[in-house]
């Protein structure tokens, strides 16, 4: 029999479930995701760092855990997991272990048999909801929750040291705010060399040469890419400053998710917290320029306020569900960003073209072949 466990919410509500992961008490922001497939990809997405993730799809674990090369980082990023029914299976040909084994191995607690729909509705209404997973009988009051909102989470998820992924002549400096591995895979597929640097790495400062493979390489790049990442974009002060400098120097820029918000903030626009965050693989966006619509993967609680966009900038994508911004671009310069995840994994591949599109625009601007 599995051990009983509890999820205690900030508002005092308690959900009882059974343990299917590590028996470890954790605290974190409780969020949800509506995707029906792709849990290994999702759980390793650094944007979930520090969060207790609730899956709205009720059966989780169906195909076990796929090979590491499909993961979005080298470990589980979620702090805890909440599901309705846990399915203990590894019969799929790509599975090397069950989800429960993986969670236990990496010390991540998980509860099953929880009414995830009711929980989702609570989270949705409260916006940010902190919670604790515990395996001792719950105490109703006096719980201490870390205040997650004020924390800058980027140091925890960003790479510690720069590294280079060889792809081709075109070099892109990637500010790693907690990037998903598939972004690198796509750049490499497009024959782009990726210079991956920590979130606060300032390439414009003198003596900022990269220490790669024990040797020093001068920082040379053609464009800047700002990855996704967790938390409130306004916490990423250093990254915003670096991007502002890149704008000034007219480097082609592409931002994804948190990168979109950072680009907006760097351009002196504002961001705000959404009433209902976008968390799933079925998010519809419309390209404001072409009128075409796409289904995208999204995972964000903040958005760019388009009313504050300065001269020269325009909205690029808009969410069809709630009309909030899903991307911005500059009218003349190759500064582009999107709020959703064009690299997908998990999710639909409708917008993978954005990588290539950016590359073409950047090359046009740089007059590079």
């Amino acid at each position: 029999m599995n051990k009983k466990g509890y999820l205690i919410l900030e508002n005092g509500q308690i959900f009882e479930g059974i343990s299917v992961g590590a028996e470890k008490q954790v605290t974190g922001e409780v969020v949800f995701n509506t995707g029906m497939v792709g849990y290994p990809e999702g759980f390793t997405d650094p944007s979930y760092f520090g969060q207790i993730l609730t899956m709205t799809y009720p059966l989780i674990g169906n195909y076990g855990v796929t090979d590491k090369k499909t993961w979005e980082s080298d470990r589980l990023q979620i702090r805890g997991l909440i599901v309705s029914s846990y399915i203990d299976n590894k019969s799929h040909y790509t599975a090397s272990q069950t989800l429960s084994d993986w969670l236990k191995k990496e010390g991540i607690p998980a509860l099953a048999n929880i009414d995830t729909r009711t929980l989702t509705k609570i989270i949705r209404e409260f916006g940010v909801m902190k919670g604790q997973i515990t395996f001792s009988p719950p105490i109703k009051s006096g719980l201490f929750f870390d205040d997650i909102k004020d924390d800058n989470l980027l140091p925890y998820v960003s790479c510690k040291k720069p590294s280079v992924y060889k792809g081709g002549d075109f070099r892109i400096l990637t500010l790693d705010c907690g990037l998903k591995e598939n972004q690198i895979r796509i750049w490499q597929k497009l024959k782009v060399t990726v210079i991956r640097v920590p979130w606060d790495y300032d390439p414009f400062k003198k003596g900022s040469d990269l220490k790669v493979n024990q040797g020093l390489t001068p920082v040379k790049f053609d464009a800047v890419f700002i990855s996704n990442g967790p938390g409130d974009p306004k916490q990423a002060v250093r990254t915003i400053e670096i991007v502002r400098e890149a704008i000034k120097r007219e480097f082609p820029l592409l931002g994804i998710c948190l990168g979109n918000q950072i680009l907006a903030l760097a351009a002196k626009a504002d961001t705000f917290k959404l009433k209902y965050g976008h968390r799933g693989q079925n998010q519809p966006v419309k390209d404001e320029i072409s009128g075409r619509c796409y289904i995208t993967t999204q995972n964000h609680g903040f958005a760019v306020d388009i009313k504050t966009l300065p001269e020269g900038w325009i909205p690029w994508f808009t969410n069809l569900n709630d009309d909030t911004n899903e991307g911005i671009r500059h009218k003349k310069l190759p500064f582009l960003s999107c709020q959703f995840h064009p690299e997908a994994t998990p999710g639909p591949t409708d917008t993978e073209w954005i990588f290539e599109y950016f590359l073409t625009e950047a090359k046009k601007w740089l007059k590079k072949p």
């Binding site: 509506t34 497939v37 195909y63 499909t70 729909r117 069809l320 709630d322 998990p346």
Partner: protein, 1083 residues
């Protein structure tokens, strides 16, 4: 775009005609949603559909209806008359699509300037033609199953190194699968090829996708290239079993992110390249070993799967598709479910749905129950749950087959204790496979073994094992009282109170009370298409034990709940959906908040915008009580057919409130003994009858009243287990076989079977016992053909005024005695020897709307269900007097015998038709001929095959044959028939019977299509004995061959004579092209 230019113009919608195997109620759903979408745009919609029981053929949905065949000939005539600006081909199944393709080929659309709205014909051609499709897919660098053509053994040896095994060899198309086979190595392939090449000039060697997963995506694309996949679905049964025959799960369960989104990307790529505008469906095979895929096919139209996807997700596919066809883009159409978001999105499910087909093999005697690549199921159900186990067990119960869940009666606690030696059951694909798998797992068969034999993914088998293991655990613990935790666990896995009660030696009420005490109650869940991410205003609901609170606050005032008809099956299909929907619409108009409970995804009643609230739930006592407990409202049980009717007395015992009749009265009518006693008391005549208690007694009684005798159980639907015995021999055979098909809960009754009598369906609505409106429809066939299989004529064509009066007076007596308040139906037998010698006998009565309600309502222009609902809801409705109309409506059954390979296509007391059509005409003959042509039969040219068994048959058919002769038909006849005809100066060409083993025999004439129509009258004994003895007779071979060759077949003299007379009176061009409105003025 079209959305602006079509306003105020006419658009023609083609329907799918009669319900048949492979094309059923889903097209009433898609057509009616399309009609709604068009009407909102101010377009004048004209519908061609002879299926009179559909909901779409109503002025609530379309402006004008033509009850005429959906064939190129008739549709062209209608186009010529109406001059529509556009036409929709994608909402009426394959029938509409084929008709459209043919019209295009004939240049009709061009000639009349009709634009084909939606997916262009050129795209449809690609999807319909295997070679073009393969070329197209290969040009996209995507994969279809490998195949090579091989013309000789020499070819084969050259191919040796190129062939990857296993392969399937397909021989020439005309041979009906003869010579096909599967080869796992070259040696076996050589063997098969040698044989096949002896039969046919070329063979196709195709990659055999044995045990690959079967996955489908529903894709929607607008004219601006915006494309989404609304849903994907995974088949429980792997490749090799038609998707209509498979258990289907949505969303897919065993696919990884890569597999799911890779196939999605491919689906979108294919659809964009065709291109499709509107909706389509794409099928994939996916290897469980390495994730490799093949594209199997694309259906460039609404399909059975799209109806299922629509109900599974809450996304109104057909409605949206129709808007797209008019030129809207996906993002400008609002999401009707959430009322907040747009139609450009992909639903996120937070539940699982399981669809299970419903077969009616029992109804088709002599049928082989193996399921395969051809569709044979007649309906389907869907279960929704928060776990696969919950959804699966709900779906099983929804089938209405007396299963409480996957644990069948064979695993009853007392049966398994006996310690008999256990033999595993067959897990070949049959309707019982699911239960047999559970049985075998219970007795220790390893799921790995089941997987390797069936190809069913381990994931599904593990889920079944989960249920079985829990069942075992309960049995082991059953000596103690049930624990709260166990009860909660059992409910989450979908066990019923009855099942749990049996295990723990309690009754179901005790378990139910225990649940209430422990607060183990199912909670109301909303289907909101977005996994709870945003608040949504949706009325689409189901119940689950995996929740702790309700999504909505139930129990509003002024509510009424209507029980729908459940799965389509022989004897209960779209006509009861028509009744249920019309009841809901009426109650809504009267200001009531309506609740619909139904579990059939092919229906209009389960559409999101029909009722105030929709509970997509099983129609079982436990579940209806659960809903009544929270909604606390009265029920209407008399419009959904036999399933709600059967539930009514049980619900009444629990003090559930009903509108309409007192449920105890239902029992008085359905219980034959009680009903018979009532008739005696009222001095109403009925055929002699007796309740059957023992075999000996039964045979004695049969002897007394003389053969033939009719045997039937109480609470019959469509004549289940009914049988006519013509001799002691066949009666004995029946008694020996019937124990398994007769439910001991209800008594069995034998009565005198009267031959040669006229049969009448009396449909009426009463208010407090007084008849408000009534219709008398006369059967063309004499008594002995099930009323569902009979040809119905309204007004009656041969009954005397006196008979009419007598029928009416008997009905009034019964209505008054039972104080009927609502719809009812009585079946009569009429013997009219002379105006003074008249006998009117009551055979049976139903205190509910009958199958013929939509027919009589539409023929007379008065909606019987509307009146019935108004009365049930307490409105004072005054009697309506109907004048005999100056036209005729004729309803003709549609049989799907072509699909059922071994069934003997004759009519019996048990119903066998899968659907029906009805048409209008200025006389009986015109209406009949139009209706007959609507069932897919073509107008015969100039030849007929005749084979009559016995003198009586020959004599009865003589008038028809004389007419055929006069019309210049070339006649082929078997020896005795030919000799008989020669006596009357009718020449015929002689053909041998099969057993004579000489040619040309009857089968040659049929196979070579020398005859346009076959008349075969057999001796009664020939037909009925076959059911038990499995002998193959000549009559059977003739009938079967005619059906297989798609040649019209007549086996009843009444119908044969009517048919021939109609042909004589009406050549094709004399059949008038008139709309419903030109005949009938609705009141």
């Amino acid at each position: 775009m079209a959305k602006k230019t079509l306003k105020g113009k006419k658009v023609l919608i083609l329907g799918s005609g009669a319900l048949k195997i492979g094309e059923a109620g889903e097209f009433d759903y898609s057509g009616s949603q399309a009609a709604k979408a068009l009407r909102e745009e101010g377009i004048e919609t004209i519908l061609v559909n002879p299926n009179i029981a559909t909901i779409q053929t109503s002025h609530d949905f379309v402006s004008k209806v033509y009850f005429l065949p959906v064939t190129p000939y008739f549709v062209e005539k209608i186009i010529n008359k109406e001059k529509p600006a556009g036409i929709l081909l994608g909402f009426g199944g394959q029938t509409a699509l084929n008709c459209g393709l043919e019209l295009e080929k004939r240049g009709i659309f061009k000639e009349y300037g009709v634009s084909v709205l939606g997916t262009p014909i050129s795209s449809i051609n690609v999807t319909e033609d295997r070679l073009l499709f393969r070329k197209k897919i290969e040009s996209l660098r995507l994969k279809v199953p490998h195949s090579v053509l091989c013309k000789s053994m020499g070819d084969l040896s050259k191919l040796k190194d190129k062939i990857r095994f296993p392969v399937i060899v397909r021989a020439g198309f005309s041979l009906g699968g003869l010579g096909s086979g599967v080869a796992y190595n070259f040696e076996k392939l050589t063997q098969i090829a040698q044989k096949a090449l002896g039969l046919t000039p070329q063979i196709l060697i195709e990659e055999y996708l044995d045990k690959w997963k079967e996955i489908e995506y529903e894709v929607v694309r607008d004219a601006y290239d915006n494309t989404i996949t609304v849903c994907n679905m995974e088949n429980f049964d792997p490749m090799g079993i038609h998707t209509g025959e498979s258990i289907v799960v949505a969303p897919s369960q065993t696919l990884t992110n890569h597999e799911y989104h890779n196939l999605r990307e491919i689906a979108i790529k294919v659809v964009k390249s065709l291109p499709v505008v509107g909706e389509c469906n794409i099928q994939f095979a996916l290897s469980p070993k390495n994730g490799d895929y093949r594209i199997i096919e694309v259906n460039a139209r609404l399909s059975r799967s799209s109806a299922l996807a629509s109900k599974a997700t809450g996304y109104p596919l057909a409605y949206i598709a129709a808007k797209l066809v008019l030129g809207y883009s996906l993002d400008e159409i609002p999401n009707k479910v959430t009322s907040a978001t747009s139609a450009f999105f992909e639903p996120a499910l937070d539940y699982v749905v399981v669809k299970i087909p419903r077969w009616d093999f029992l109804k088709f005697k002599d049928h082989n129950e193996i399921i395969g690549s051809a569709m044979q199921s007649v309906g389907e159900v869907m279960g929704i749950g928060r776990s696969f186990e919950e959804a699966l067990q709900k779906a099983i119960r929804s089938l209405d087959l007396d299963y409480e869940g996957i644990i069948s009666d064979d695993l009853d606690p007392d049966k398994i204790k006996k310690g008999k030696k256990i033999r595993f059951k067959s897990i070949d694909p049959t309707p019982n496979r699911l239960y047999n798998i559970a049985y075998n797992i219970f007795f220790g068969q390893k799921i790995f073994e089941i997987r390797s034999r069936t190809g069913i993914d381990l994931w599904f088998l593990e889920r079944i094992k989960h249920i079985v293991d829990f069942y075992k655990r309960m049995i082991n613990e059953s000596k103690q009282a049930i624990k709260e935790e166990t009860l909660r666990g059992a409910k989450k896995l979908g066990f019923t109170d009855t099942q749990i009660a049996e295990i723990y030696h309690k009754n179901w009420e005790e378990i139910r009370n225990l649940r209430k005490k422990w607060n183990i109650l199912p909670k109301i869940c909303q289907i909101d298409t977005l996994g709870g991410e945003f608040p949504a205003k949706t009325n689409y609901l189901y119940l689950s034990y995996h929740r702790m609170e309700n999504d909505i606050k139930p129990g509003e005032n002024n509510q009424v709940a209507i029980l729908g008809g459940g799965p389509y099956q022989i004897g209960s299909s779209v006509e009861f959906d028509w009744c249920a929907v019309n009841s809901v619409l009426t109650a809504r108009k009267m200001g009531y908040k309506t609740i619909m409970i139904n579990c059939n995804p092919e229906t209009v009643s389960t559409d999101y915008d029909i009722s105030g609230k929709l509970y997509f739930e099983e129609l079982t006592l436990e579940r209806v009580l659960d809903i009544v407990d929270v909604e606390n409202c009265p029920l209407i049980v008399s419009v959904g057919g036999q399933i709600p009717n059967k539930l009514a007395p049980k619900l009444a015992k629990q003090n559930v409130k009903f509108l309409s009749n007192d449920p105890y009265i239902i029992d008085k009518v359905e219980n034959r003994q009680k009903f018979s006693a009532l008739l005696d008391r009222l001095k109403v005549r009925q055929p002699l009858w007796k309740k059957l208690t023992s075999k000996k007694e039964a045979l004695k009684f049969a002897n007394k009243i003389n053969y033939p005798v009719l045997i039937r159980p109480s609470y019959v639907l469509s004549g289940t287990a009914m049988f006519v015995a013509y001799s002691k021999q066949s009666f004995t055979a029946y008694l020996d076989h019937s124990s398994s098909i007769v439910n001991p809960e209800f008594p069995l009754v034998i009565s005198k079977f009267i031959r040669g009598a006229k049969e009448v369906d009396f449909d009426a609505v009463s208010r407090k016992g007084k008849i408000i409106i009534a219709a008398i429809s006369e059967h063309v066939e004499h008594a002995g053909v099930h009323s569902g299989d009979a040809t119905l004529v309204l007004p009656s064509f041969s009954l005397s005024e006196k008979s009419h009066e007598e029928i009416r007076s008997v009905a009034e007596k019964i209505s008054k005695a039972l104080k009927i308040n609502g719809p009812f139906n009585i079946q009569f037998l009429i013997y009219e020897r002379s105006p003074f010698d008249l006998e009117v006998l009551v055979i049976e009565a139903n205190l509910r709307a009958s199958r013929s309600f939509p027919f009589v309502s539409k023929v007379l222009g008065v909606n019987f269900i509307k009146l019935a609902t108004e009365i049930m809801l307490g409105k004072k409705v005054l009697p309506i007097d109907i004048k005999t109309p100056p036209y005729f409506g004729v309803k003709v059954p549609h049989f799907s015998f072509t699909r059922l390979r071994q069934v003997d296509p004759v009519l019996r007391v048990e119903m066998a038709s899968t659907g029906e059509v009805a048409c209008f005409g200025k006389d009986f003959y015109e209406a009949y001929l139009k209706a007959l042509l609507s069932t897919g039969i073509s107008y015969p040219k100039k030849s007929a095959l005749l084979s009559f068994g016995g003198d009586e048959a020959k004599q009865r058919l003589l008038p028809a044959v004389r007419i055929l002769h006069k019309m210049g038909f070339k006649l082929y006849a078997t020896r005795k028939t030919g000799l008989y005809l020669r006596n009357y100066g009718i020449k015929s060409e002689f053909v041998y019977k099969v057993f004579e083993k000489k040619s040309p025999n009857v089968l040659d004439i049929i196979k070579e299509k020398k005859a346009d129509v076959v008349f075969n009258l057999s001796d009664r004994s020939d037909i009925d004995m076959k059911a038990w003895t499995k002998q193959i007779t000549d009559g059977y071979l003739i009938r079967r061959a005619a059906v297989d060759a798609n040649i019209p077949l007549f086996t009843k003299s009444t119908i044969a004579n009517l048919y021939v007379t109609s042909l004589y009176k009406y050549s094709l061009d004399k059949l008038s092209i008139k709309s419903w409105e030109e005949y009938v003025h609705e009141k």
